[in-house]
Chain length 441, copies 2
């Protein structure tokens, strides 16, 4: 048994793929976002690959993009996370199940109940991805005229977290006696009302479900802003990060783990897992060709809009099949502009190829052989850029199968990833402690 750090791997499933061209890829299932059978087989395959968790993103509106882009995107329809993950709980045995739920547009009593229920049903495999929902279209679906202010959303999120975790602690772990002889079902001294009255929330409790098997389902967050990092350092156990380079990842990693120490928490009790798109080939060249083919399915209109945003410059007049012309300096973010220009030059991309790259997925990507991908993952782990990754698959099922069948064994050979699950719960997979009950020692 090794004591070296190992990677933690979540599978980030956003309706079908993060990549809007994914449904057109040869062999892809264009209806995976309608078809529970497909998603069940994906989850079972990820479990065979010993993934820590199946991670379901969420949006509380049709994604706000121009209809010309929207009509080409499979992201317009998606299963709701709780119904999907609960159904997957019945179809899997060990993999963690992380659902996204909003602190801005839901009630803490509902959220506490559902995650507790998912944790009971799955035998301790639930995780809650706390989001505050910045999408203004979501506000319009929930009776508000405009987006809730950022600072207020984070204030409420912090209080919401306190209420939900407090509700999970409504019963002591040993409250339920079920003594047939005396007729006592539970010990009322081991049930506690919350009686919370705060700035944003008023919740009496107790919750009407026993304490979750994990004590609390695992707390996941993705906020990168100043209040987002602070909330993560105080409360999160997994952070979904998004950094395009190792250097940026290292800076974030050091910052959040440092904030944890200041908040009196053990930095090992939070796993930082950046999202990464993985494209696997038998050669690096083949992997790049696969990605180029995938990017070619992004419609030019939406692609060029992404390029204009990245450059801070209207790119619609450029020759699609020529090289990227010189771009004058603007007061737009210099780093984004320079990164985009450098990408075009490095990979010798035409304007169309560059635009489709950004319109497909512009974030961190490992594109290569199982060996080169394992090399990159190993470097991020050992050089403290992350504790693992939230892996995104470029197309389904092939991209997922490639990762599980080819990359995972390479990581296992190197001792960087588990060969078997060590325990039944998501906390076991992530090496996280079980929280004490705040009311009952």
């Amino acid at each position: 048994m090794t004591t070296a750090r190992q990677l933690h791997l979540g599978a980030f499933m956003r309706p079908v793929s993060i990549h809007t061209g994914a449904w057109r890829y040869p062999g892809a299932y264009p209806d995976a976002n309608f078809n529970f059978g497909h998603l069940k087989r994906f989850a079972q395959k990820l479990e065979a690959g010993k993934f820590d968790a199946f991670f379901m993103a969420d949006h509380l509106a049709v994604l706000n993009m121009p209809v010309e882009a929207l009509k080409r995107s499979h992201t317009v329809t998606s299963f709701e996370p709780f119904t999907l993950l609960s159904a997957l709980a019945g179809a899997t045995e060990r993999i963690g199940l992380v659902a996204t739920a909003s602190t801005t547009f839901d009630a803490p009593y509902h959220i506490a109940r559902r995650f507790a229920s998912l944790d009971h049903i799955s035998g301790g495999r639930a995780g809650w991805n706390i989001v505050t929902t910045s999408n203004p279209d979501a506000a319009l679906n929930f009776g508000l005229d405009a987006e809730v202010d950022h600072g207020e959303r984070y204030d409420r999120a912090r209080e919401f977290y306190d209420v939900v975790t407090g509700l999970w602690d409504s019963f002591a772990d040993d409250a339920f006696i079920r003594d047939r002889e005396s007729g006592l079902y539970f010990d009322p001294d081991k049930m506690r009302r919350l009686d919370h009255k705060g700035e944003h929330l008023s919740v009496r409790g107790p919750l009407n479900i026993a304490r979750p098997p994990q004590g609390w389902p695992v707390i996941v967050q993705a906020g990168a802003s100043e209040p987002g990092r602070q909330l993560a350092a105080e409360t999160a156990e997994v952070v979904f990060a998004a950094h395009g380079t190792l250097a940026a990842g290292q800076a974030f990693y050091a910052d959040v783990k440092g904030r944890m120490e200041q908040a009196g928490r053990n930095p090992d009790h939070l796993k930082i897992l950046p999202g990464v798109l993985t494209v696997v080939g038998d050669s690096v060249e083949e992997a790049r060709e696969k990605r180029a083919l995938l990017d070619s399915f992004v419609h030019y209109d939406s692609a060029i809009a992404s390029l204009s945003i990245a450059l801070g410059h209207d790119a619609t007049g450029f020759d699609p099949d020529g090289p990227l012309p010189e771009i004058p300096e603007t007061n737009h973010s210099k780093s984004g502009r320079e990164r985009t220009i450098a990408l075009a030059r490095r990979e010798n991309l035409t304007v169309r190829q560059l635009a489709q790259r950004l319109g497909g997925y512009g974030g961190l990507a490992f594109v290569g052989t199982p060996k080169t991908i394992a090399d990159e993952m190993e470097q991020w782990l050992t050089e403290r850029g992350s504790d693992g990754f939230n892996v995104m698959f470029p197309y389904l099922p092939e991209g997922l199968n490639d990762f599980v069948d080819k990359v995972v064994p390479e990581l296992q050979r190197r001792g960087l990833f588990r060969r078997e699950y060590q325990g039944p719960t998501l906390r076991d997979h992530l090496g996280l402690p079980r929280p004490a009950n705040r009311h009952f020692a």
Copy 2:
């Protein structure tokens, strides 16, 4: 193929059993409300018995009863309906899945999404039991100081129904083209925003999930009040009724079906299914003994409180082991008092037995052999007291197995109940039409 009316049977599952003594019954699972494996086997058994639906009640608080009664009740903890039914969707193939959700303490966008998602995941087996939640303890868990007024709850429920069904119609059934060649995922002319601005709700839409396989999940209601009956007549497709006698059932049946005709609806498009506790024995005597044993597990303190309420008279001073004494008239409901006295005389019950009967389950019960239970069900069906039943099992698993293994075959022999499911959806089981899309003909 017969064209005669047949019974529709739902299984009403309230945490474990409606009966608070159920967990103490010999052979019962005292932990069924914690144990997904048990509930999975119950659902699979009900499906083998060709039940129309598995019906999950709900409460948004720990049930408000005195702690002396609460601590003896398994109802204190329960799975949340959506997580449970979604998990059961993955473990069953045909049985309908009816979840309770509140129009007072939830948002229509959430409710519309979850039921649409459950309907997609289950292949068209979802039903929504609309409740307005009168429990004042629930209000305290959702930031309110007091219960919402009855009339306002029903006003909001009616508007909530319009919004949810409107959101389900966000996309035409044939909106999703998924044409790989052109890259068109859906036809934007077949997506519609709701743009609802009403008295209680403001919801823009569209919903971010395709139209449910059933068009709309089946609408279920239980309201017996004047506004409850009217809401049912206008909107419901199944009504969960609660009447202690055939005569009362017939009056309700005629009233609601008459209101439907006045509202321009076909009375066949709503199925009235009263709740009934069933206790099966090899002889009527044995069934009665089983029930007496079950009732004996109700604690005397909670039992006597139920008796006092039924009589409108404090019963705590009565001799528990004597017969019911003469009760002076009060201004309390005369019919409830007389019914209770008549029950005691008819079955020659002691005060203790009478109290435990009411404290266990005081509503409609069929206690007898498979033949006598089938006789009663047949009479209710043919004499228009109901279109079937929501069956409640006195203890689990035995009470459920008895019904499926013994009563169902007797009903099938008489041609009163299906031998096989005729279609895949809950609407097929119930003989209900698929609603037209209100935006797209």
